[in-house]
Symmetry: C2
Subunit: 435 residues, 2 copies
Amino acid sequence: MLWQRLPSLHPAPLRFSMAKRFQTLPGFRDFYPEECAARNYVFDVWRRVARRYGFVEYEGPVLEPTELYRRKSGAEIVNQLFCFEDKGGREVSMRPELTPTLARMAAARQRDFRKPLRWFSIGQFFRYEKHQKGRGREFYQFNCDILGEPSVLADAELMALSVDLMREFGFTAADFRLRVSDRDAWVGFAAERGLGEEEIASFLQIIDKMERTPEDKVAEQLGALGLAPEDVRAFVASGAEASPAIREVVRNLRARGLGDYVEVDLGIVRGLAYYTGPVFEIFDIARGMRAIAGGGRYDQLVGLVGGVEMPACGFAMGDMVATDLIRETPAPSDLLSAAAAAAAGLDVQVVLADPSKGDEAALVAQRLREAGWRAVLPLSEAKVGKQFQAAEQAGARFAAVVGAEFPEVTLRDLARRSERKVPCEDLAAALGEAE
Amino acid sequence: MLWQRLPSLHPAPLRFSMAKRFQTLPGFRDFYPEECAARNYVFDVWRRVARRYGFVEYEGPVLEPTELYRRKSGAEIVNQLFCFEDKGGREVSMRPELTPTLARMAAARQRDFRKPLRWFSIGQFFRYEKHQKGRGREFYQFNCDILGEPSVLADAELMALSVDLMREFGFTAADFRLRVSDRDAWVGFAAERGLGEEEIASFLQIIDKMERTPEDKVAEQLGALGLAPEDVRAFVASGAEASPAIREVVRNLRARGLGDYVEVDLGIVRGLAYYTGPVFEIFDIARGMRAIAGGGRYDQLVGLVGGVEMPACGFAMGDMVATDLIRETPAPSDLLSAAAAAAAGLDVQVVLADPSKGDEAALVAQRLREAGWRAVLPLSEAKVGKQFQAAEQAGARFAAVVGAEFPEVTLRDLARRSERKVPCEDLAAALGEAE
C-alpha cells in the first residue's frame, strides 16, 4: 500500500524529537478514507446480492475457544492461529474462519428457526501466515451458508449466488469461472482402491495441492498410498461423469442462464477438513488464476461442534483478492470508483462571509443537516475565496454563503456557477428544487 | 441474552452422544439475525449522521503493538488489555480503543489530507473486564474526530453531532443530556493550588470517580493532595464561570437550536489520560443515568504517538448502552423494529406447483433477482399449501407460482389476496407495477 512505502513525512528535527513512531503490525492494514470506501463498496455488493437471494445477516465473536478449530478445520489453519491464553486462563484464538462458529450458533438455537437457514455474514478473520500480495494476516470475508437442507439444489443456489456476486462487481464470463467438483467422488475413488479413513484424508491433501506440486513429487506421494498418477489423472479427466451431484448442479445452473460461467474441475477438493460433498471455487481466468471464493457441503460439522445433525453447505469470499481483481479490471474498477466518490461526496459547503455571523452559519449547517443534506461548516476564520476553494476541492455541489444579510443566505450552485438569495428557513427546500 | 439462558435444546440421547458442546466466551456475543439487524441499524444511524456532518469513514487494525496503549490511555485500560505475544515474538493487543490508532494514522500521512480532517469509524473493541449489563468484553464503537483544528468550534461541532445521533435514534430532550466540562479548567484549579504534574493526574482520577465514591473517601483522597472537598465542590458549582471554552461551546450549541440538550457539569473529566481541553458526555436522564457517549480534546496525542503536532478532538459512542436504551424507550424502539423488519423483508416467494418444473422455478428466481427483487426459491419438494405458508411466515409480499403453464407464471399479491398470470419474461416489470 502506498503509504507504507512513503518515507517519513516530517522534517528531521521533529522526526527525532519524539520517543517512538508507531507502525502497523506486518500483514495488518490501515484503511484510510479512500481504502475504507473501497472496502465498504465490496461489503455493499456482498450484502445486496445476498439479500436478493433471501439471506439474512448474522455475526459471531472474533475470539473463540481454540478447541473449536482443532481437528475440525485442518492442520494448516490450526498452525496459523493467532492463539493465546486470556487473563482467565482460557485457550482462545482470534478466528481464522467462520464456519465452526456458524455450526455452534446454528446448533445452539436450531429449534428457533425455520429450516433451511439462509444466513450470510461479513466480518474480519486472522491467520498468522507469510505476508504476501493478496494474503494478509487479517482479511474480511463474506460467508454465506444454507443449513438444514440436504438437497443438492442448495449447493446450486450458493453457486448461483457466488456467480451473481461477481457479476454485480461488473465481471463477465471473460473474467472468471465457477469450478465445480465433488469431494464425495474422490472419497469413493479412494475407498474403491482400499484406502482407510486416515489415508483418505492424506490423499485429499495431495489432490488439493496437486496443481502446485512437481509431478515426480505427486507420483511419490500417491505411490506411498499405493496409487498410480495415471489412475488419478484419468479420474480428473472423467469430469461430470464421476459425480451425479456435479451433473445436477451444472444442469440447474444452466437452467438459470449461468452455464457460461461454469466448468467441472475434479482437481478441486478444498483444503478444509470438514467438506463432505460438492465443492466449488471461483477463479480469475483473465489475470493470474487466483481463487476468489470457495466452499462446499459440510454435512457433519454442525453435529461435531454442536451435537445436532444438520446438513449444510456454504462458501466464502475474501476481500483482498476480490478487491485486487476489481482494481485491475476496467469495468469493475469504474464501478468501485463511482461508489467511492459518492461516499465521499458533499452537498453544501457553508461559507462564512462575515466573521461575526459564526453562530448563524452554525444554524444554517444545522438546518441543512436536519433536512438530510451533507453540509460542512468552516471551523476557523478564512478568506471567502479560500472557503470557496475548499468547497470545490471537497467536491461540494453548493455553497451557502452566510454574511451581513442573514437571515437571507446566498445559495450558489458551484457546477452551474449560478446563485440566488434564499431566506434561511427556505434553504433546505431550495436545495431540493435545485437538484 | 435470551439464548444464553435457554437450556440445552436437543434430547438427552443426542446431547451426550457428542464429545463436546462449544460455548461463546464470557463477555462475547453471538449476533443471530435479529440482533445483527439491530446492530446494523445502529451502524446505519451512526454512518448517516456522520456523513451529514461531512465526515468520511476510515478503519484501523484490530491488533496493534501493546506499546501504543501504554502510558497514553491510562492505567485502567492497560490493565484490561487482551494482550499476548504473537508467533513472531511481538507484544500485541486487541485494541481497547481507537484514538491511539487514529493518532498514528493521521500523523503518518498528515501531508496527504486537507486540514481539518473530519473522520469517523465504526469498529469492534476489546477489554478484559468484569462482564455486566451494558459492558461486555467486546463492543462496537462509533468514533468521530476532527484533527488539525485548534478552534473550540470543532469541539462544538462534535457535540452537536453527538446530539444529532441521539435525535436520529428518536430520543428527545426528555431522554438525554449533553454534559460539558473542561479538563483545562481543572488543571488550572490544581496548578493554582500548587499541585505538580503527577499529582494533577491523580487529582483528575479522583474527580473522575468522585460521583461513585463515598464522601469520606473522597475527602481522604483530596486531603492527601492538600485539597479541601468544599473547595472542589465550590469549583464544580461555579459551572460555566470556570471556563471560557465551555461558555463558547454552550453559546454555539444554543445558536444551533440545541440548547435544550446541553448542561454544564464540571464533575466530568473523563477517565482517559490524554484529554487536554473541553470534555463531554451524553447521559441518559430518564433511565439509569448511564453514559452513552463521551469524548473531548486531546491536543498532545498525535505528537506523542506520531511525532507530528496536530490539535485534535473526538468522541465515541458504544453500541451496548445505546442499544439497551433504544430498546427501553418506546419511539426509538419502534424505529429499530421497523428497520430490522425491513432488513429481513422478502419480496417474492417462488412457489413450485409442478415438481418437474424445478429448473424453470430456478430461472424465475434468477430473473427476479437480476431485476433487484429479493426472491426465495424452494430447495426441496413441498406441498403447494406448505409453500404458501412458508411465504407468509417469511413475510413475502408476493408469490410467483411456477407450474405446468410455464412460461406463464401466476403472480399472487399475498396481502391483497389477488393474482394474475404473467409471462416469465414480464414478471419483474409486473412486480414493479404491483408495488
